[in-house]
């Protein structure tokens, strides 16, 4: 398949990102013209209603960029480490793990501060990701797509049952909990963002720096060791980065599935499998995808809004189905 010129793609993706940022600032319950959005951003006024609305939408848009980028990189890392085309935070059950820990924290320890949410979400997502990945890679045949998907589904189902068991007796927290089932970037605040930002930056840096070694890893463990890669450490670091990225995102946004699944796939189609390009481009594409999913949700759900987690599931699940349809029977 003919690959696209990387420079052209960079230009296109910058244009795409700018359009999605503008759209995210402009559309919603109150539509505002692009020109007015740009003017407001340039001169930083906060006088008219439209200008205030634009300012209100800034944290949400910024978080959309950060969350989309994190999920995209997280998916690229997990797919590279597991050598499994359908590895994705939502399929690994990472989201349910984070939800369970946060719900338990609310119910038993009365947590309320963002740092506590984030800590618990990170802990939960790491434990569950390692558990699911471990289960699916037991045995000689290693982790195949179907085993990974099933291990994730089984774990998610069990954890959801435990979540129900915690939540059902507490009717007062039921309403809160409802919003933990569907991810959305609408709840982003400056405070929450500042708390997760260090985690995301660490994950991002590890992801970027490990990309050359991950390319070597793709050649197989023996070749990689021959090339001087310390495979164990690389795996550990990149897994950690992948889990931190999606765990921290889930802590603020709730479960947003399938971004990490579709983005690396589409980038690979356009640019080929090199991780050096895959990881940064996955970040950009992830941001564009999540922002657009959010805008679509606002437009479809108008006057209220459709959570971006629902939109991404509806775009992403068909991609999973396509991958399964195209897969050779044996590789499952």
């Amino acid at each position: 398949m003919k690959k696209i010129n990387p420079l052209l793609l960079i230009v296109l993706s910058i244009i795409g990102l700018s359009i999605s940022i503008l759209a995210s600032l402009a559309f919603g319950a109150r539509h505002i013209g692009f020109l007015e959005v740009i003017q407001t951003l340039m001169y930083n006024q906060g006088e008219t209603l439209n200008q205030i609305v634009v300012h209100e939408r800034i944290p949400r848009t910024l978080f959309g960029i950060v969350a989309g980028a994190s999920l995209g990189i997280s998916g690229a890392l997990m797919q590279a480490i597991t050598r499994n085309p359908i590895a994705d935070p939502s399929i690994l059950g990472v989201n349910t793990g984070a939800s369970l820990f946060v719900v338990a924290g609310i119910a038993f320890f009365n947590i309320g501060r963002p740092i506590e949410y984030i800590g618990l979400a990170l802990l939960g997502s790491s434990i569950v990701a390692l558990f699911v990945f471990g289960i699916s890679s037991l045995g000689r045949s290693g982790s195949t797509p179907i085993k990974l998907a099933l291990a994730g589904a089984a774990t998610s189902a069990a954890l959801s049952s435990i979540i129900s068991a915690i939540v059902l007796p507490r009717t007062d927290s039921m309403t809160n909990f409802r919003f933990w089932q569907v991810g959305s970037i609408s709840g982003a605040t400056w405070e929450g963002m500042l708390t997760v930002l260090p985690f995301l930056l660490i994950g991002l840096l590890i992801g970027l720096f490990s990309s050359p070694t991950l390319d070597a890893l793709a050649l197989g463990d023996e070749l990689a060791i021959g090339l001087g890669v310390r495979t164990g450490i690389v795996r550990l670091l990149s897994t950690g980065a992948g889990v931190i990225l999606c765990g921290a995102t889930t802590a603020i946004a709730g479960p947003i599935g399938f971004v990490g699944l579709m983005v690396p796939h589409s980038v690979r189609l356009l640019l080929g499998p090199s991780m050096k390009r895959l990881i940064p481009m996955s970040a950009v594409f992830g941001a564009i995808l999540l922002l657009f999913a959010d805008v679509i949700g606002r437009l479809i759900g108008s006057p209220s809004e459709l959570e971006s987690g629902i939109v991404t599931a509806f775009i992403g699940a068909p991609i999973l189905i396509l991958i399964a349809m195209k897969a050779k029977v044996k590789s499952l």
Partner: protein, 342 residues
Amino acid sequence: MSDLMTTTLLMGFRRRRFRWAFLTSILILTVLVLSCMALVLGNTIYPLSTVISVIGGESIQGATFAIYTLRLPRMLTGLFVGLAFGIAGSTFQNLLRNPLASPDIIGITSGSSIAAVFCILILGLSGPLVSIAAVISGLLVALIIYLLSRSGGFSGGKLILIGIGIQAMIQSAISYLILRSNQNDIPSALRWLSGSLNGVRLSALPGLVSVVLIFSSLIILLGRHLRILELGEQAATSLGVRTDLIRLLLVLSGVFLIAYATAVTGPIAFVSFLSGPIAKKWVGSGLPTEFPAGLIGAILVIGSDLIGQYAFSTRLPVGVITGILGSPYLLYLIIRMNRQGG
């Protein structure tokens, strides 16, 4: 010589059939014991004699209400829903020759759920219309999954992956509907996430019972052909089985059972997935597993409901218990699948 062999084979067959009948009777007995427990236990514990006389038509202050209005519908619903889930799950697993291909894992159950949730929460419907919608939507989802997994060569693995993808979509749509629902509807809506016997009504029973009886008998009658189908497509055709027709009838009956039961109680997690393999372990292979699987389904539902109601300080819906019980088994199955190398 050949006479002797025939006799030995026949004796072995009789012995296995006797064993099957014996083990199945044990299952029936367990179902009966659990059903009695479901009628006896509760806020007030009534002795078995009271329960029997109430069912016999005697009117006893307090006991009649508790048993006739609360416990009997709950127990019967659990019994028939369990039968439906168990039989349908085992049918799908045998048809696709894969223990993971049960309707709750490949997304058919969620197809029925979404229609039921939509009818109840958005349209405000109840009763038979909900069941009809659930059946139609379950059939549609089954058809879509089947058609998608046929492209480029059918395989059980492909079907399961596609089913998981479809399920993810439907699940998020259900979450959306629940998120939008009225605050007061949430408790009843939450049952659509895990399945529950709370609030079942006597009026839903006649429909459920007739659907379960008709389609279970159909599946059990067709079981002979299913055994041959399990040998593979070619063997079945050469033995004179009309494979396509039988398969279609079995799938339709299975989906009817699943969809109707789901419309009544919501998707009780993992019952249809667990029943088949347990039944196979219990009665051994080569003999019909559909009926034993149905009984095990009933045992799972009634037993888990008893655990959910009385084992903890708060009452938990049955689906929460089966979800927690079922997952370790699924994980075990996945690990074992690995050890066998695929």
